[in-house]
Symmetry: C2
Subunit: 240 residues, 2 copies
Protein backbone atom coordinates (compact mmCIF):
# COMPACT_ATOMS: atom_id res chain seq x y z
CA UNK A 1 0.00 0.00 0.00
CA UNK A 2 1.08 3.56 -0.66
CA UNK A 3 2.53 4.44 2.73
CA UNK A 4 1.59 8.10 2.28
CA UNK A 5 -1.97 7.01 2.85
CA UNK A 6 -1.26 6.39 6.51
CA UNK A 7 0.63 9.61 7.06
CA UNK A 8 -2.41 11.77 6.68
CA UNK A 9 -3.67 10.76 10.13
CA UNK A 10 -2.97 13.04 13.02
CA UNK A 11 -2.99 10.13 15.40
CA UNK A 12 0.10 7.99 15.07
CA UNK A 13 -1.68 5.26 16.95
CA UNK A 14 -4.51 5.18 14.43
CA UNK A 15 -1.92 4.79 11.67
CA UNK A 16 -0.43 1.88 13.53
CA UNK A 17 -3.80 0.24 14.03
CA UNK A 18 -4.60 0.41 10.33
CA UNK A 19 -1.14 -0.82 9.38
CA UNK A 20 -1.47 -3.69 11.81
CA UNK A 21 -4.81 -4.72 10.30
CA UNK A 22 -3.39 -4.73 6.78
CA UNK A 23 -0.43 -6.76 8.00
CA UNK A 24 -2.72 -9.37 9.50
CA UNK A 25 -4.86 -9.54 6.36
CA UNK A 26 -1.65 -10.29 4.48
CA UNK A 27 -0.75 -12.95 7.03
CA UNK A 28 -4.18 -14.52 6.61
CA UNK A 29 -3.89 -14.30 2.83
CA UNK A 30 -0.48 -15.95 2.88
CA UNK A 31 -1.91 -18.80 4.91
CA UNK A 32 -4.81 -19.22 2.46
CA UNK A 33 -2.38 -19.26 -0.46
CA UNK A 34 -0.28 -21.92 1.25
CA UNK A 35 -3.32 -24.04 2.11
CA UNK A 36 -4.48 -23.83 -1.49
CA UNK A 37 -1.09 -24.91 -2.87
CA UNK A 38 -0.83 -27.74 -0.35
CA UNK A 39 -4.39 -28.96 -0.95
CA UNK A 40 -3.94 -29.15 -4.72
CA UNK A 41 -0.55 -30.83 -4.33
CA UNK A 42 -1.98 -33.35 -1.86
CA UNK A 43 -4.73 -34.23 -4.30
CA UNK A 44 -2.59 -34.38 -7.43
CA UNK A 45 0.19 -36.37 -5.76
CA UNK A 46 -2.09 -38.51 -3.62
CA UNK A 47 -0.33 -37.33 -0.46
CA UNK A 48 -2.88 -38.14 2.24
CA UNK A 49 -0.61 -36.88 5.02
CA UNK A 50 -0.42 -33.45 3.40
CA UNK A 51 -4.20 -33.53 2.90
CA UNK A 52 -4.66 -34.20 6.63
CA UNK A 53 -2.40 -31.26 7.46
CA UNK A 54 -4.48 -28.97 5.23
CA UNK A 55 -7.65 -30.09 7.00
CA UNK A 56 -6.24 -29.54 10.49
CA UNK A 57 -4.67 -26.17 9.61
CA UNK A 58 -7.92 -24.48 8.53
CA UNK A 59 -8.70 -23.42 12.10
CA UNK A 60 -5.81 -20.92 11.96
CA UNK A 61 -7.47 -19.09 9.08
CA UNK A 62 -10.79 -19.09 10.93
CA UNK A 63 -9.13 -17.70 14.06
CA UNK A 64 -7.49 -14.90 12.08
CA UNK A 65 -10.84 -13.97 10.55
CA UNK A 66 -12.45 -13.65 13.97
CA UNK A 67 -9.53 -11.61 15.32
CA UNK A 68 -9.29 -9.20 12.39
CA UNK A 69 -13.06 -8.80 12.36
CA UNK A 70 -12.96 -7.78 16.03
CA UNK A 71 -10.11 -5.35 15.33
CA UNK A 72 -12.21 -3.75 12.59
CA UNK A 73 -15.28 -3.41 14.83
CA UNK A 74 -13.08 -1.90 17.50
CA UNK A 75 -11.72 0.69 15.07
CA UNK A 76 -15.19 1.55 13.80
CA UNK A 77 -16.40 2.08 17.37
CA UNK A 78 -13.38 3.92 18.75
CA UNK A 79 -12.01 5.84 15.77
CA UNK A 80 -15.30 6.43 13.97
CA UNK A 81 -13.51 6.63 10.62
CA UNK A 82 -14.98 8.41 7.62
CA UNK A 83 -14.20 8.64 3.90
CA UNK A 84 -11.29 6.47 2.76
CA UNK A 85 -10.51 5.23 6.29
CA UNK A 86 -14.05 3.91 6.55
CA UNK A 87 -13.82 2.33 3.12
CA UNK A 88 -10.57 0.66 4.13
CA UNK A 89 -12.15 -0.95 7.17
CA UNK A 90 -15.19 -2.09 5.15
CA UNK A 91 -12.89 -3.46 2.43
CA UNK A 92 -10.99 -5.41 5.10
CA UNK A 93 -14.19 -6.82 6.64
CA UNK A 94 -15.30 -8.07 3.22
CA UNK A 95 -11.86 -9.34 2.22
CA UNK A 96 -11.41 -11.50 5.30
CA UNK A 97 -14.85 -13.03 4.76
CA UNK A 98 -13.75 -14.11 1.28
CA UNK A 99 -10.35 -15.28 2.52
CA UNK A 100 -11.98 -17.41 5.17
CA UNK A 101 -14.27 -19.04 2.61
CA UNK A 102 -11.28 -19.58 0.29
CA UNK A 103 -9.69 -21.43 3.19
CA UNK A 104 -12.84 -23.56 3.49
CA UNK A 105 -12.61 -24.44 -0.20
CA UNK A 106 -8.94 -25.41 0.22
CA UNK A 107 -9.95 -27.62 3.12
CA UNK A 108 -12.62 -29.20 0.92
CA UNK A 109 -10.02 -29.96 -1.75
CA UNK A 110 -7.89 -31.56 0.94
CA UNK A 111 -10.81 -33.76 2.03
CA UNK A 112 -11.49 -34.80 -1.56
CA UNK A 113 -7.85 -35.80 -1.90
CA UNK A 114 -8.17 -38.31 0.93
CA UNK A 115 -10.39 -40.83 -0.81
CA UNK A 116 -8.98 -40.98 -4.31
CA UNK A 117 -7.72 -44.29 -5.60
CA UNK A 118 -4.39 -44.46 -7.40
CA UNK A 119 -6.14 -45.96 -10.43
CA UNK A 120 -8.46 -42.95 -10.72
CA UNK A 121 -5.62 -40.52 -10.34
CA UNK A 122 -3.79 -42.27 -13.17
CA UNK A 123 -6.65 -41.71 -15.60
CA UNK A 124 -8.05 -38.39 -14.34
CA UNK A 125 -6.71 -35.15 -15.88
CA UNK A 126 -4.56 -34.43 -12.83
CA UNK A 127 -2.00 -32.37 -14.73
CA UNK A 128 -4.80 -30.07 -15.90
CA UNK A 129 -6.01 -29.84 -12.31
CA UNK A 130 -2.49 -28.98 -11.17
CA UNK A 131 -2.26 -26.31 -13.88
CA UNK A 132 -5.59 -24.86 -12.83
CA UNK A 133 -4.46 -24.91 -9.19
CA UNK A 134 -1.32 -23.00 -10.14
CA UNK A 135 -3.35 -20.35 -11.97
CA UNK A 136 -5.70 -19.97 -9.01
CA UNK A 137 -2.78 -19.68 -6.61
CA UNK A 138 -1.17 -17.07 -8.86
CA UNK A 139 -4.42 -15.12 -9.04
CA UNK A 140 -4.86 -15.27 -5.27
CA UNK A 141 -1.36 -13.93 -4.73
CA UNK A 142 -1.98 -11.19 -7.30
CA UNK A 143 -5.22 -10.15 -5.58
CA UNK A 144 -3.48 -9.98 -2.20
CA UNK A 145 -0.61 -8.02 -3.71
CA UNK A 146 -3.05 -5.55 -5.29
CA UNK A 147 -4.75 -5.26 -1.91
CA UNK A 148 -1.49 -4.69 -0.02
CA UNK A 149 -0.53 -1.89 -2.38
CA UNK A 150 -4.11 -0.76 -3.08
CA UNK A 151 -3.22 -0.81 -6.76
CA UNK A 152 -6.38 -0.59 -8.85
CA UNK A 153 -4.66 -1.26 -12.17
CA UNK A 154 -3.21 -4.47 -10.85
CA UNK A 155 -6.60 -5.32 -9.34
CA UNK A 156 -8.22 -5.06 -12.77
CA UNK A 157 -5.51 -7.18 -14.41
CA UNK A 158 -5.77 -9.85 -11.73
CA UNK A 159 -9.59 -9.91 -11.85
CA UNK A 160 -9.42 -10.70 -15.57
CA UNK A 161 -7.40 -13.83 -14.85
CA UNK A 162 -10.69 -15.33 -13.72
CA UNK A 163 -11.64 -15.70 -17.41
CA UNK A 164 -8.79 -18.14 -17.96
CA UNK A 165 -9.60 -20.03 -14.77
CA UNK A 166 -13.23 -20.42 -15.85
CA UNK A 167 -12.04 -21.74 -19.19
CA UNK A 168 -9.71 -24.25 -17.51
CA UNK A 169 -12.59 -25.25 -15.27
CA UNK A 170 -14.82 -25.97 -18.28
CA UNK A 171 -12.07 -28.01 -19.87
CA UNK A 172 -11.29 -30.11 -16.77
CA UNK A 173 -14.94 -30.86 -15.97
CA UNK A 174 -15.57 -31.75 -19.62
CA UNK A 175 -12.73 -34.28 -19.49
CA UNK A 176 -13.98 -35.66 -16.17
CA UNK A 177 -17.49 -36.14 -17.56
CA UNK A 178 -16.11 -37.98 -20.58
CA UNK A 179 -14.16 -40.18 -18.21
CA UNK A 180 -17.28 -40.90 -16.17
CA UNK A 181 -19.17 -41.86 -19.31
CA UNK A 182 -16.38 -44.23 -20.28
CA UNK A 183 -15.94 -45.72 -16.79
CA UNK A 184 -19.28 -45.43 -15.01
CA UNK A 185 -18.10 -47.45 -12.00
CA UNK A 186 -15.63 -44.67 -11.20
CA UNK A 187 -18.39 -42.01 -11.06
CA UNK A 188 -18.47 -41.56 -7.25
CA UNK A 189 -14.70 -41.17 -7.01
CA UNK A 190 -14.42 -38.95 -10.07
CA UNK A 191 -17.10 -36.74 -8.55
CA UNK A 192 -14.61 -35.92 -5.81
CA UNK A 193 -12.29 -34.50 -8.46
CA UNK A 194 -15.22 -32.60 -9.95
CA UNK A 195 -15.89 -31.04 -6.54
CA UNK A 196 -12.25 -30.12 -6.11
CA UNK A 197 -12.25 -28.47 -9.55
CA UNK A 198 -15.36 -26.56 -8.59
CA UNK A 199 -13.71 -25.43 -5.35
CA UNK A 200 -10.76 -24.08 -7.34
CA UNK A 201 -13.11 -22.19 -9.62
CA UNK A 202 -14.83 -20.67 -6.59
CA UNK A 203 -11.51 -19.58 -5.10
CA UNK A 204 -10.88 -17.72 -8.36
CA UNK A 205 -14.27 -15.98 -8.00
CA UNK A 206 -13.37 -14.90 -4.49
CA UNK A 207 -9.96 -13.63 -5.56
CA UNK A 208 -11.85 -11.48 -8.05
CA UNK A 209 -14.01 -10.20 -5.19
CA UNK A 210 -10.87 -9.02 -3.39
CA UNK A 211 -9.81 -7.14 -6.52
CA UNK A 212 -13.20 -5.43 -6.50
CA UNK A 213 -12.71 -4.29 -2.90
CA UNK A 214 -9.43 -2.64 -3.94
CA UNK A 215 -11.31 -0.56 -6.52
CA UNK A 216 -14.01 0.16 -3.92
CA UNK A 217 -11.45 1.40 -1.43
CA UNK A 218 -9.46 3.58 -3.84
CA UNK A 219 -12.30 4.89 -6.01
CA UNK A 220 -15.30 4.60 -3.71
CA UNK A 221 -17.12 2.62 -6.40
CA UNK A 222 -18.86 -0.72 -6.00
CA UNK A 223 -17.88 -2.67 -9.14
CA UNK A 224 -19.34 -5.99 -8.04
CA UNK A 225 -21.94 -6.37 -10.76
CA UNK A 226 -20.05 -4.76 -13.60
CA UNK A 227 -18.18 -6.12 -16.61
CA UNK A 228 -14.39 -6.20 -16.74
CA UNK A 229 -14.50 -3.17 -19.07
CA UNK A 230 -16.59 -1.15 -16.61
CA UNK A 231 -14.34 -2.23 -13.76
CA UNK A 232 -11.30 -1.06 -15.72
CA UNK A 233 -13.00 2.26 -16.52
CA UNK A 234 -13.81 2.84 -12.83
CA UNK A 235 -10.31 1.81 -11.76
CA UNK A 236 -8.55 4.23 -14.09
CA UNK A 237 -11.03 7.07 -13.58
CA UNK A 238 -10.33 10.13 -11.49
CA UNK A 239 -9.92 9.68 -7.76
CA UNK A 240 -12.96 11.00 -6.00
Amino acid sequence: MDKSFFKQHISQQFNEELEDIIKRVMEMGGLVEQQLADAVNAMVEGDTEQAETVITTDYRINALEVEIDEQCTHILARRQPTASDLRLVIAVIKTITDLERMGDEAERIGRMGLHLLEADRQTAPMSDLAEMGEHVRHMTRGALDAFARMDTEQAVRVAQQDIQIDSLYESVTHKLMKQMTAAPDAVPRLMDIVWATRSLERIGDRARNICEYVVYFVKGKNVRHTSYEQMAAEATGDRR
Copy 2:
Protein backbone atom coordinates in the same frame (compact mmCIF):
# COMPACT_ATOMS: atom_id res chain seq x y z
CA MET B 1 -37.31 -6.92 15.58
CA ASP B 2 -38.11 -5.75 19.05
CA LYS B 3 -39.25 -2.21 18.33
CA SER B 4 -38.00 -1.01 21.71
CA PHE B 5 -34.54 -1.37 20.27
CA PHE B 6 -35.08 1.63 18.04
CA LYS B 7 -36.64 3.80 20.73
CA GLN B 8 -33.41 4.17 22.61
CA HIS B 9 -32.07 6.63 20.02
CA ILE B 10 -32.36 10.30 20.72
CA SER B 11 -32.50 11.05 17.03
CA GLN B 12 -35.81 10.07 15.49
CA GLN B 13 -34.19 10.31 12.08
CA PHE B 14 -31.52 7.78 13.02
CA ASN B 15 -34.29 5.41 14.13
CA GLU B 16 -35.97 5.85 10.79
CA GLU B 17 -32.74 5.22 8.90
CA LEU B 18 -32.16 1.96 10.76
CA GLU B 19 -35.76 0.87 10.32
CA ASP B 20 -35.58 1.66 6.62
CA ILE B 21 -32.45 -0.47 6.22
CA ILE B 22 -34.06 -3.45 7.95
CA LYS B 23 -37.13 -3.00 5.76
CA ARG B 24 -35.01 -3.12 2.64
CA VAL B 25 -33.07 -6.17 3.84
CA MET B 26 -36.46 -7.86 4.24
CA GLU B 27 -37.46 -6.76 0.75
CA MET B 28 -34.21 -8.19 -0.62
CA GLY B 29 -34.71 -11.39 1.36
CA GLY B 30 -38.25 -11.80 0.09
CA LEU B 31 -36.98 -11.48 -3.47
CA VAL B 32 -34.29 -14.11 -2.84
CA GLU B 33 -36.87 -16.46 -1.38
CA GLN B 34 -39.11 -15.99 -4.41
CA GLN B 35 -36.24 -16.51 -6.84
CA LEU B 36 -35.27 -19.69 -5.02
CA ALA B 37 -38.83 -21.08 -5.13
CA ASP B 38 -39.21 -20.15 -8.82
CA ALA B 39 -35.82 -21.59 -9.79
CA VAL B 40 -36.51 -24.95 -8.16
CA ASN B 41 -40.00 -25.08 -9.63
CA ALA B 42 -38.68 -24.20 -13.10
CA MET B 43 -36.17 -27.02 -12.87
CA VAL B 44 -38.50 -29.64 -11.42
CA GLU B 45 -41.37 -28.81 -13.79
CA GLY B 46 -39.17 -28.15 -16.82
CA ASP B 47 -40.62 -24.66 -17.16
CA THR B 48 -38.01 -22.88 -19.30
CA GLU B 49 -39.99 -19.64 -19.36
CA GLN B 50 -39.94 -19.45 -15.58
CA ALA B 51 -36.22 -20.30 -15.62
CA GLU B 52 -35.60 -17.37 -17.99
CA THR B 53 -37.51 -15.06 -15.66
CA VAL B 54 -35.38 -16.16 -12.71
CA ILE B 55 -32.22 -15.42 -14.72
CA THR B 56 -33.37 -11.97 -15.80
CA THR B 57 -34.67 -11.02 -12.32
CA ASP B 58 -31.35 -11.51 -10.52
CA TYR B 59 -30.27 -7.94 -11.31
CA ARG B 60 -32.89 -6.64 -8.87
CA ILE B 61 -31.24 -8.48 -5.99
CA ASN B 62 -27.84 -7.16 -7.06
CA ALA B 63 -29.17 -3.61 -7.22
CA LEU B 64 -30.65 -3.88 -3.73
CA GLU B 65 -27.33 -5.12 -2.37
CA VAL B 66 -25.49 -2.11 -3.80
CA GLU B 67 -28.12 0.30 -2.48
CA ILE B 68 -28.29 -1.13 1.04
CA ASP B 69 -24.50 -1.35 1.19
CA GLU B 70 -24.31 2.36 0.37
CA GLN B 71 -26.94 3.16 3.00
CA CYS B 72 -24.85 1.29 5.58
CA THR B 73 -21.65 3.11 4.66
CA HIS B 74 -23.53 6.38 4.84
CA ILE B 75 -24.78 5.57 8.36
CA LEU B 76 -21.31 4.53 9.51
CA ALA B 77 -19.85 7.80 8.24
CA ARG B 78 -22.60 10.17 9.39
CA ARG B 79 -23.94 8.55 12.55
CA GLN B 80 -20.73 6.92 13.72
CA PRO B 81 -22.68 4.25 15.56
CA THR B 82 -21.21 2.31 18.46
CA ALA B 83 -22.20 -0.78 20.47
CA SER B 84 -25.35 -2.53 19.25
CA ASP B 85 -26.04 0.08 16.54
CA LEU B 86 -22.64 -0.64 15.06
CA ARG B 87 -23.21 -4.37 15.29
CA LEU B 88 -26.55 -3.96 13.55
CA VAL B 89 -24.96 -2.17 10.60
CA ILE B 90 -22.17 -4.77 10.37
CA ALA B 91 -24.74 -7.59 10.57
CA VAL B 92 -26.66 -5.96 7.72
CA ILE B 93 -23.53 -5.56 5.56
CA LYS B 94 -22.75 -9.26 6.01
CA THR B 95 -26.34 -10.41 5.57
CA ILE B 96 -26.81 -8.65 2.23
CA THR B 97 -23.57 -10.18 0.94
CA ASP B 98 -24.98 -13.62 1.70
CA LEU B 99 -28.39 -12.77 0.28
CA GLU B 100 -26.82 -11.57 -2.94
CA ARG B 101 -24.86 -14.81 -3.29
CA MET B 102 -28.01 -16.80 -2.51
CA GLY B 103 -29.60 -14.96 -5.42
CA ASP B 104 -26.66 -15.99 -7.61
CA GLU B 105 -27.19 -19.62 -6.64
CA ALA B 106 -30.89 -19.36 -7.48
CA GLU B 107 -29.94 -17.91 -10.86
CA ARG B 108 -27.56 -20.85 -11.36
CA ILE B 109 -30.36 -23.30 -10.62
CA GLY B 110 -32.49 -21.45 -13.17
CA ARG B 111 -29.74 -21.82 -15.78
CA MET B 112 -29.35 -25.51 -15.07
CA GLY B 113 -33.10 -25.94 -15.58
CA LEU B 114 -32.85 -24.65 -19.14
CA HIS B 115 -31.00 -27.57 -20.66
CA LEU B 116 -32.61 -30.57 -19.06
CA LEU B 117 -34.25 -33.14 -21.28
CA GLU B 118 -37.67 -34.48 -20.41
CA ALA B 119 -36.24 -38.00 -20.40
CA ASP B 120 -33.67 -37.08 -17.74
CA ARG B 121 -36.26 -35.36 -15.63
CA GLN B 122 -38.39 -38.49 -15.73
CA THR B 123 -35.64 -40.63 -14.25
CA ALA B 124 -33.87 -38.11 -12.01
CA PRO B 125 -34.97 -37.82 -8.36
CA MET B 126 -36.85 -34.60 -9.04
CA SER B 127 -39.31 -35.06 -6.19
CA ASP B 128 -36.37 -35.29 -3.77
CA LEU B 129 -34.94 -32.14 -5.30
CA ALA B 130 -38.30 -30.42 -4.90
CA GLU B 131 -38.43 -31.53 -1.26
CA MET B 132 -34.92 -30.25 -0.65
CA GLY B 133 -35.84 -26.96 -2.35
CA GLU B 134 -38.84 -26.62 -0.05
CA HIS B 135 -36.67 -27.20 3.03
CA VAL B 136 -34.13 -24.63 1.85
CA ARG B 137 -36.87 -22.10 1.14
CA HIS B 138 -38.35 -22.72 4.57
CA MET B 139 -34.95 -22.29 6.21
CA THR B 140 -34.30 -19.08 4.26
CA ARG B 141 -37.62 -17.64 5.39
CA GLY B 142 -36.88 -18.68 8.99
CA ALA B 143 -33.48 -17.01 8.90
CA LEU B 144 -34.99 -13.79 7.55
CA ASP B 145 -37.73 -13.92 10.14
CA ALA B 146 -35.17 -14.40 12.94
CA PHE B 147 -33.26 -11.44 11.50
CA ALA B 148 -36.32 -9.21 11.29
CA ARG B 149 -37.14 -9.89 14.93
CA MET B 150 -33.52 -10.32 16.05
CA ASP B 151 -34.63 -13.51 17.78
CA THR B 152 -31.59 -15.55 18.80
CA GLU B 153 -33.56 -18.61 19.87
CA GLN B 154 -35.23 -18.81 16.51
CA ALA B 155 -31.85 -18.21 14.85
CA VAL B 156 -30.41 -21.26 16.61
CA ARG B 157 -33.41 -23.42 15.68
CA VAL B 158 -33.25 -22.34 12.04
CA ALA B 159 -29.47 -22.83 11.83
CA GLN B 160 -29.93 -26.43 12.89
CA GLN B 161 -32.20 -27.07 9.91
CA ASP B 162 -29.01 -27.10 7.87
CA ILE B 163 -28.32 -30.60 9.21
CA GLN B 164 -31.40 -31.95 7.49
CA ILE B 165 -30.60 -30.10 4.27
CA ASP B 166 -27.09 -31.58 4.24
CA SER B 167 -28.58 -35.00 4.72
CA LEU B 168 -31.05 -34.49 1.84
CA TYR B 169 -28.16 -33.24 -0.26
CA GLU B 170 -26.19 -36.43 0.41
CA SER B 171 -29.22 -38.55 -0.48
CA VAL B 172 -30.01 -36.72 -3.75
CA THR B 173 -26.38 -36.71 -5.00
CA HIS B 174 -26.05 -40.39 -4.10
CA LYS B 175 -29.11 -41.19 -6.23
CA LEU B 176 -27.82 -39.05 -9.08
CA MET B 177 -24.46 -40.81 -9.04
CA LYS B 178 -26.18 -44.19 -9.18
CA GLN B 179 -28.19 -42.94 -12.11
CA MET B 180 -25.03 -41.77 -13.88
CA THR B 181 -23.43 -45.16 -13.34
CA ALA B 182 -26.49 -46.86 -14.82
CA ALA B 183 -26.88 -44.45 -17.74
CA PRO B 184 -23.41 -43.05 -18.53
CA ASP B 185 -24.60 -41.23 -21.64
CA ALA B 186 -26.74 -39.00 -19.44
CA VAL B 187 -23.75 -37.90 -17.32
CA PRO B 188 -23.40 -34.35 -18.73
CA ARG B 189 -27.10 -33.60 -18.28
CA LEU B 190 -27.36 -35.22 -14.88
CA MET B 191 -24.38 -33.13 -13.81
CA ASP B 192 -26.62 -30.09 -14.22
CA ILE B 193 -28.94 -31.54 -11.60
CA VAL B 194 -25.94 -32.25 -9.38
CA TRP B 195 -24.92 -28.58 -9.64
CA ALA B 196 -28.44 -27.43 -8.83
CA THR B 197 -28.46 -29.69 -5.78
CA ARG B 198 -25.13 -28.25 -4.70
CA SER B 199 -26.48 -24.72 -5.14
CA LEU B 200 -29.39 -25.56 -2.85
CA GLU B 201 -27.01 -26.93 -0.24
CA ARG B 202 -24.98 -23.71 -0.44
CA ILE B 203 -28.08 -21.57 0.01
CA GLY B 204 -28.71 -23.50 3.23
CA ASP B 205 -25.17 -22.71 4.38
CA ARG B 206 -25.75 -19.04 3.74
CA ALA B 207 -29.08 -19.05 5.56
CA ARG B 208 -27.15 -20.44 8.50
CA ASN B 209 -24.71 -17.53 8.16
CA ILE B 210 -27.61 -15.09 8.53
CA CYS B 211 -28.68 -16.88 11.73
CA GLU B 212 -25.13 -16.40 13.03
CA TYR B 213 -25.31 -12.65 12.36
CA VAL B 214 -28.46 -12.48 14.50
CA VAL B 215 -26.55 -13.96 17.44
CA TYR B 216 -23.65 -11.60 16.68
CA PHE B 217 -25.94 -8.58 16.75
CA VAL B 218 -27.83 -9.50 19.91
CA LYS B 219 -25.03 -11.09 21.92
CA GLY B 220 -21.93 -9.47 20.41
CA LYS B 221 -20.48 -12.94 19.85
CA ASN B 222 -19.03 -14.30 16.62
CA VAL B 223 -20.38 -17.87 16.43
CA ARG B 224 -19.18 -18.58 12.90
CA HIS B 225 -16.80 -21.41 13.72
CA THR B 226 -18.67 -22.99 16.58
CA SER B 227 -20.84 -26.08 16.91
CA TYR B 228 -24.63 -25.87 17.11
CA GLU B 229 -24.35 -26.53 20.85
CA GLN B 230 -21.95 -23.62 21.35
CA MET B 231 -24.12 -21.41 19.20
CA ALA B 232 -27.16 -22.29 21.34
CA ALA B 233 -25.18 -21.61 24.53
CA GLU B 234 -24.13 -18.16 23.27
CA ALA B 235 -27.63 -17.37 22.06
CA THR B 236 -29.27 -18.13 25.38
CA GLY B 237 -26.51 -16.59 27.51
CA ASP B 238 -26.80 -13.25 29.25
CA ARG B 239 -27.04 -10.17 27.12
CA ARG B 240 -23.78 -8.25 27.26
